[in-house]
């Protein structure tokens, strides 16, 4: 049976995924949430680790369910010649192939770009690797905090004067996946215009580097090496996170003298408002550590959410620093469908973190949760590849479809 039409701007685009863990699947998710038909090649003998984390049932693994909505799953044992042949038939019916498997693995399976081009001349292939596809360090593999450290990003994140600890250890994979999705769609445009496919070589390290591009460009021009700088901002002061009651924190960003005066008024800090040291940005920056301490002394007794609201209404940008508990209970986010429900094989429905965009008209539907292993075998083998049922049965019996 053909699948229901989900609409969306990438309707009609078919993507094949040979991906694992986070960065690759996240790229697939982005494209699926824009309406592409994304088929994940899986095998019981070579599972995405995300189906194993959490320890229970491979079809209800929390990590897997949290990423792979609107993804189709087809089983193929790529360690068999017949399995590889099936993958190549799928390539022939696809627009884009994304992988983030180990360096060299695609080449060993004869699924490198030159080989894929023989199968489908206008194929777009995107390979996500820690260091990209080639080069002297291309053999290395790593984990998100490693590529953030290598990239130059970690060196900029730390409390002032301390060892730069970088962003949270989870940061990095998803952004690499997002950039892969972006590049794939750019390549679709190139193909629309010229008829030509291409190879996209994506480096996860460079993804992180690109996020500090302005700092690196400034270094290239001025020669001043940027440092881990806490919450320092050369053009705003106060600028930081301030302690509040019950262990909460409040972010405040003051860009003008008028905002500074409003901040003091809301805080009832007439002494700070009248302190000549703090009257100008230059003065506040010069005394910013003392100023931060003074402000922290005032905010510490207040409730973060309430103070933030009063500051915003006075024109001072402020927002509570949200914990996981705050985020899960955030009424605005639920109300806007930042979190939404999709189908779930065990529980009927499951909340997911929906796309960060809304489109009007013709948004892609995001309603179906992550697939069971091989849930779309019939669709792929019967509908797309057009194999007769007895041939599919034979492939299952021979564990080519496993």
């Amino acid at each position: 049976m053909p699948l229901p039409d989900r609409g969306g701007p990438l309707a009609g685009v078919r993507v094949l995924e040979l991906t694992k863990v986070w960065a690759g699947p996240y790229a697939g998710k982005m494209l699926a949430h824009l309406g592409a038909e994304v088929i994940k090649i899986e095998s019981a003998t070579n599972l995405d680790e995300m189906r194993a984390y959490g320890g229970v049932d491979i079809n209800s693994a929390p990590y897997f369910l949290s990423i792979n909505q609107e993804i189709l799953s087809v089983q193929v044992n790529m360690k068999t010649a017949a399995g590889l042949d099936l993958v190549k038939q799928m390539v022939a019916a696809s627009d884009i192939v994304i992988d983030n498997i180990r360096p060299g693995a695609m080449e060993r399976s004869k699924l490198d770009y030159e080989s894929l081009k023989q199968i489908k001349p206008d194929i777009i292939q995107c390979s996500i690797k820690m260091w990209g596809t080639d080069g002297p360090l291309g053999y290395q593999t790593g984990y998100a905090p490693c590529f953030a450290a290598l990239s130059g990003l970690t060196a900029l994140v730390g409390h002032e004067g301390e060892t730069p600890k970088g962003m949270n250890i989870r940061y990095g994979d998803s952004t690499a996946g997002a950039c892969a999705a972006l590049a794939c769609i750019a390549a679709l445009h190139h193909r629309e215009r010229t008829g030509e496919g291409q190879f996209i070589d994506l480096s996860a390290v460079e993804t992180m580097t690109s996020l500090v591009g302005d700092s690196l460009f400034a270094y290239s021009v001025t020669g001043e090496v940027p440092q881990p700088d806490g919450n320092f901002h050369p053009e705003m002061c106060p600028h930081g996170a301030y302690p509040c009651a019950n262990g909460e924190w409040l972010s405040i960003a003051v860009a003008s003298d008028a905002e500074w005066q409003s901040l003091c008024e809301v805080l009832g800090a007439a002494d700070l408002a009248g302190d000549a040291r703090y009257a100008t940005l230059a003065g506040r920056l010069a005394s910013r550590h003392a100023l931060d301490r003074a402000l922290g002394g005032i905010t510490a007794a207040q409730e973060a959410g309430d103070l933030a609201e009063r500051l915003r209404l006075a024109g001072v940008p402020a927002f509570r620093s949200q914990s996981s508990l705050d985020l899960c209970g955030d009424g605005w986010l639920w109300g806007r469908e930042a979190y939404r429900m999709v189908s779930d094989h065990n529980n009927g429905t499951r909340p997911i973190i929906g796309p960060a965009w809304r489109m009007e008209p013709d948004a892609a539907k995001v309603e179906t949760g992550a697939p069971l292993l091989g849930e779309h075998n019939d669709y792929v083998y019967r509908e797309i590849l057009g194999l007769p049922q007895d041939r599919v049965d034979d492939l299952i019996a021979r564990k080519v479809i496993d």
Binding site: Y63, N168, Y171, A178, Q198, S210, W357, E360
Partner: protein
């Protein structure tokens, strides 16, 4: 050959979020016409400066054209409509009141230019309370949770951090915005029709942590007030060495074995079970390991020691600084930094994209424009 040749994007954005969105598209070869207010874009007056020019502005606005329009002035506003009539896309990042005052709400743009792909990037998305819409990057990254949980293992008395540089959430939002715009332009090629795209910067922050936060939403992990709620545990962190810092990540018996060999199998290491990372990774053991390792690594140099580590299967890497990157052999090999003879700054190195496209590579072709440099060209259209 560029991927987006023939595509025209009008940018009325005035923050890095929107400017970087359009820069990503310009790098792919779209013609990006940047509309600047009289006096110039706000980012022109943000530092760091050299020779009186903003490095920030020049980074986010390379490959673009500049026209000056006062969008509150009816004649200039009509000029914008003429541009939009022939453009494929419009990029904005202002609050809703700004758009309403200039006839640039989603409904007005869709009515006047039904073919147009129109994206607006705002901190909380369309429909947020007006006073929320003034949020700045540090507010966004705090509202979205990454600040609260960064760095990993931050003690409760240390403030959440804004991330790297001033604009980390802007970059993240721009990636999603550019992705959506490109997807929508693909649809425009097929149907001739436009779309409105509403990007929430905070929701981008949430989406990037899907497999951590969603498990909490779904009740599979416990959300809480802990600063460590996103952490993974284990000994991985940054350590100071002789000439900077290294980052060590370890999760397995083979990582541990490799590290012990690298260190020459010191006596203190023998006190750990060989599988302690998997089965005995207690807080005490992590602390004890870090004490010893901190002392051992302190006099090592980051490049040779991490290279030796990699060869022994240990995921230890240098914490690269801005000065390290242009000399890094892998960055050099891939040509990540594009040398460019810049009219304002002389010889510079542009950090480029993380994707190398074999048929339509991205490149800096022109420096960021002088204010209004393309007024005559646009006037003639």
């Amino acid at each position: 050959v560029t991927a987006l040749a023939g595509i025209t994007i009008v940018e009325i954005a005035e923050r890095p979020a929107g400017e970087y969105t359009a820069r990503l598209l310009a790098d792919f070869g779209a013609e990006v016409i940047k509309v600047e207010r009289p006096g110039g874009a706000p980012t022109r007056s943000m530092g760091p400066f050299k020779n009186g020019e903003s490095t920030l502005f020049h980074y986010f606005n390379a490959n673009k054209k500049s026209v000056v329009l006062d969008l509150a002035d009816p004649a200039d506003r009509a000029t914008l409509d003429r541009l939009l009539a022939r453009a494929n896309g419009l990029i904005d990042d202002h609050d809703e009141a700004w758009g309403a005052a200039r006839g640039l709400t989603s409904a007005e743009v869709a009515a006047a230019h039904p073919h147009l792909v129109h994206a607006i990037i705002t901190p909380f998305g369309q429909g947020a309370p007006l006073e929320w819409q003034i949020a700045r990057p540090i507010n966004v990254i705090n509202a979205g949770g990454w600040a609260y949980h960064s760095p990993s293992e931050t003690p409760p008395d240390k403030p959440p951090l804004k991330g790297a540089g001033r604009f980390l959430p802007d970059y993240e939002s721009a990636i999603d915005a550019a992705t959506c715009v490109l997807a929508s332009l693909h649809r425009q090629r097929k149907t001739g029709a436009g779309q409105f795209i509403d990007i929430s910067e905070v929701e981008v922050q949430l989406n990037r942590v899907d497999c951590v936060l969603d498990r909490m939403l779904a009740g599979e992990a416990e959300p809480g007030p802990e600063r460590t709620a996103y952490d993974m545990g284990g000994p991985g962190t940054s350590f100071a060495c002789r000439d900077g810092h290294v980052y060590l990540f370890m999760t397995s018996k083979s990582h541990w074995k490799g590290l012990c060999e690298l260190m020459g199998n010191p006596d203190w290491a023998q006190a750990f079970r060989e599988d302690w990372l998997e089965f005995d990774c207690t807080r005490d053991n992590v602390v004890r390991f870090r004490e010893h390792f901190t002392a051992w690594i302190a006099d090592k140099e980051k490049m040779p020691i991490t290279e030796a580590a990699q060869k022994g299967g240990v995921a230890m890497v240098p914490v690269s600084t801005a000065a390290d990157l242009p000399q890094n052999e892998q960055f050099v090999h891939r040509g990540f930094f594009q040398k460019f003879d810049h009219p304002a700054f002389g010889e510079v190195a542009f950090p480029m994209a993380c994707y190398k496209l074999s048929a339509s590579p991205v490149a800096i072709r022109t420096a960021a424009p002088a204010l209004g440099a393309h007024d005559p060209e646009v006037e003639a259209r």
